[in-house]
Each structure stands twice: as structure tokens, then as C-alpha cells.
């Protein structure tokens, strides 16, 4: 098991007004993400707890790519990972930003 934080900068604040959202499940090959609107408008962060050690570089690459694509300013993403592939991680992150745009 490994835990780390990945910081990022966002060009703009994430859309919507919802305070939090949850998506996914911590199961084999899957992950759960809890998103909370708790950071300053131009900051974003992914906090990872993963069952699979030794892939921090891959996580960092996915997170930085995600920060650029989605510009999730103000959002903190807390992840419980059960060994999801990078493409699954990216899909869930993008999905979680969408959920924050829904009506509360």
C-alpha cells in the first residue's frame, strides 16, 4: 500500500456549486474518488491511497494530464484505489468533475 499527494495548478475554477461527490468503488481494477470543493480557486490536488506500490510516476503523469484537461480549480480528489489502470483513473477523475457540475 502506498499513500501520496499530487498538487496541481488550475487555469480556472471548476464548474458547478456542489460541495462534494463520490464515484466508483474500491474494488479490484477499480477505484473510488471523493471530490470536495475545499481548495483555493486555482489549486487542485489528488490524494492517493493505492493497493499497488511503485507507480507514483504513472499517477503523477495521469494527474498532471487531468489537471490540464479539466482545470478542476478548487477541488480535492481523494482516491482509494484497488489497482485501477491509468485509463480507468482518468475516466473516473473526469466523471467526478462532471458530478460536481450537477445540481446539488
Amino acid at each position: 500500500m502506498e499513500q501520496f499527494q499530487l498538487q496541481g495548478k488550475a487555469v480556472r475554477r471548476a464548474g458547478g456549486t456542489r460541495r462534494q461527490a463520490l464515484t466508483g468503488v474500491n474494488a479490484s481494477g477499480n477505484l473510488e474518488i471523493l471530490v470536495e470543493r475545499v481548495l483555493a480557486d486555482h489549486e487542485c490536488m489528488v490524494e492517493v491511497t493505492t493497493a499497488v506500490a511503485g507507480f507514483r510516476g504513472t499517477w503523477d503523469a495521469v494527474a498532471q494530464d487531468f489537471f490540464t484537461r479539466a482545470s478542476p480549480g478548487g477541488l480535492r480528489f481523494s482516491i482509494n484505489d484497488g489497482g485501477a489502470r491509468p485509463d480507468t483513473v482518468m475516466l473516473r477523475l473526469l466523471q467526478s468533475v462532471r458530478l460536481m457540475e450537477r445540481e446539488p
Partner: protein, 304 residues
């Protein structure tokens, strides 16, 4: 998460615990207790190098069903098989004890569990005992407790016992209810006794249709969340009383059942002995045809 407009049509088996709650209750009525943002997580899993879940695999809270106040708990069967740990069990127990203090119209238990989490087994077993106690207390005080079963983990181990202690049980086709699961039986008694890879055998023994025909479940629904919702509402309105007379009647029913069918080695033998039509096709027909089948005599007994 499924879009709100589609949630009723969605399949119970495929839906997450939270989607099941969202589709079961009146739209937007669910208020969660100890939600994931509070991070009330298992204190034990990290010792085993396992990552946890923000809600420890169970969502509990209140809401309304057709305008009636209900308390609801839903296990997430995909997280550690929906198994009971310390926090997971405490959340369910707290909900049931809260129901005693401020009685709702009913408590709905969306169980989806393999039983006790082995990494925190003592706490899990204790939680299950206390949950059973709390359910029986609630029933005695007149609050219906309805089990809705149809997730991928089924209701096994202590989860099977909890299910059997509820006022009413609704199952969908995928549901399995039992105490010792197929793999456990195979491990302990050998593959000749029970081949856990024989899916047809597993469903004949502990599957929804067998449970329903034999009286181990009170309602059988097609797999949609909407169908579960309709059945749950109907069950709340029709719950038997709970007392010594009923328990004695149930004891008698089970004694008679054991006497009649105790020598049977497989479910079709029971259906044949009970005179049901086409005993070998029970698992093959579709839901609509199945729902027209008669159950064995006494299966609709109010005793449970």
C-alpha cells in the same frame, strides 16, 4: 452514478449501493448519516496492507418511500464483498438502534454481503449478533424491517441470518441467500458434496427462485430498481405480527417442511415432491413465466 431520469429502469444487480438507494426512495429524499466526506473508515484494514472505503462499504440514512418516513442501509457488494467490519457493522447497528428511539414507518436493508470481513472478524461477528438483536427488538416494537436482496455478493454468512430475521424478504433473480457459501462448503466437505463452480447448482440451492418457492423469501421481482421499490412499498403495508404465537407457528412450519422434504438432495426433488409443475425447468423459464408458478404449500405463511 446513473442519471436520475434512468435510475428506476436500471438493474439492481449492476447498480451501486448509492444508486440503489437513489432509485428506491422518493427522488432526492435520501439524507445520509456519516457520509463518505466524514471518512469514518476501518481502523484495521491498513494493518493488512488493504486500502479502505470512505464509507466502509455501507451507506445509511433516512428518506421517504411514497411519502412514508423510512430508514435505509445499503451495502456495497463490490467493496470487500460487502463484508461486515467494525465500522460497517456499527453504522448499521446505529441505524437500527436509532429506529428504536424515533420509529420510522419501516427500515429497509439493502443487503449485499459475503458475511464477516476476515481481517476484522471478531468485530464483524459481534456486529452481526447485535444487528440481529436490534432487528428483533424493532420488529417486536412494531417497526417492519424489510430485506431487499439481489446484489452480486448475495446475502451469505451472518448476512444470510440477518436476512432471515427480517419481517419480509424481497428477492430478484440474481439473489442468493444462505449461511455457508458454496466455496465454504466445498472447502470443508469436498467437491463431491458441493461443486461451487456449478452455477446452476448454486442457484438451485440458494438462489432467489428456490428461496421464493420454498418460503425463504416473500416477494420475487424482475431485476429493476423500480420493481424493488414497488415491492418494498407493498411489503411495508403487509407485515405479520411478531410474538410467541407467530414464532411457534414458524417453528411448526419449519418442522413440517423438514419432515416433508428433509431427504431431498436437490431443489427439483423438492418441487417434484410438492407437486409443482415442470420441476426441472424452474431455473430455465423467464421471470414472467416463473411468477405464474405456484409456490409449495405453506410457503406464503405469515410466520416469518
Amino acid at each position: 452514478m446513473i442519471a436520475a431520469v434512468q435510475i428506476g429502469r436500471a438493474d439492481w444487480y449492476e447498480a451501486s449501493a448509492r444508486d440503489r438507494i437513489a432509485g428506491l426512495l422518493d427522488a432526492g429524499s435520501f439524507v445520509e448519516f456519516l457520509g463518505p466526506e466524514q471518512r469514518i473508515m476501518s481502523p484495521h484494514l491498513a494493518q493488512f496492507d488493504l486500502t479502505g472505503a470512505f464509507d466502509d462499504g455501507i451507506a445509511v440514512g433516512r428518506g421517504t418511500l411514497d411519502g412514508q418516513a423510512v430508514l435505509v442501509a445499503a451495502q456495497e457488494g463490490r467493496f470487500l464483498g460487502g463484508a461486515f467490519g467494525e465500522v460497517h457493522g456499527a453504522k448499521l447497528l446505529g441505524l437500527l438502534r436509532g429506529a428504536r428511539e424515533r420509529p420510522p414507518r419501516a427500515v429497509l436493508l439493502l443487503l449485499d454481503t459475503g458475511g464477516v470481513r476476515l481481517q476484522e472478524a471478531n468485530a464483524g461477528e459481534l456486529a452481526i449478533s447485535e444487528v440481529i438483536h436490534a432487528i428483533l427488538n424493532l420488529r417486536r416494537s412494531g417497526v417492519p424491517v424489510i430485506a431487499l436482496i439481489g446484489g452480486r455478493a448475495g446475502a451469505f454468512g451472518g448476512g444470510g441470518i440477518i436476512t432471515a430475521c427480517c419481517s419480509r424478504i424481497v428477492v430478484a433473480e440474481h439473489a442468493r441467500i444462505s449461511v455457508s457459501g458454496p466455496e465454504v462448503i466445498e472447502t470443508n466437505k469436498g467437491v463431491e458434496e458441493f461443486d461451487s463452480r456449478d452455477r446452476a447448482l448454486v442457484w438451485r440451492v440458494c438462489g432467489a427462485r428456490s428461496r421464493y418457492l420454498l418460503g425463504g423469501a416473500d416477494g420475487y421481482v424482475t431485476g429493476s430498481i423500480a420493481a424493488m421499490r414497488k415491492a418494498a412499498a407493498a411489503m411495508i403495508a403487509d407485515v405479520p405480527s411478531f410474538g410467541m404465537t407467530m414464532l411457534q407457528a414458524e417453528q411448526q412450519r419449519l418442522t413440517d417442511r423438514l419432515h416433508r422434504f428433509g431427504a431431498c438432495r436437490d431443489a427439483p426433488e423438492i418441487w417434484r415432491a410438492a407437486g409443482l409443475p415442470e420441476p426441472d425447468r424452474v431455473g430455465d423459464i423467464d421471470d414472467e413465466a416463473f411468477l405464474t408458478m405456484p409456490r409449495i404449500a405453506g410457503a406464503d405463511h405469515d410466520a416469518r
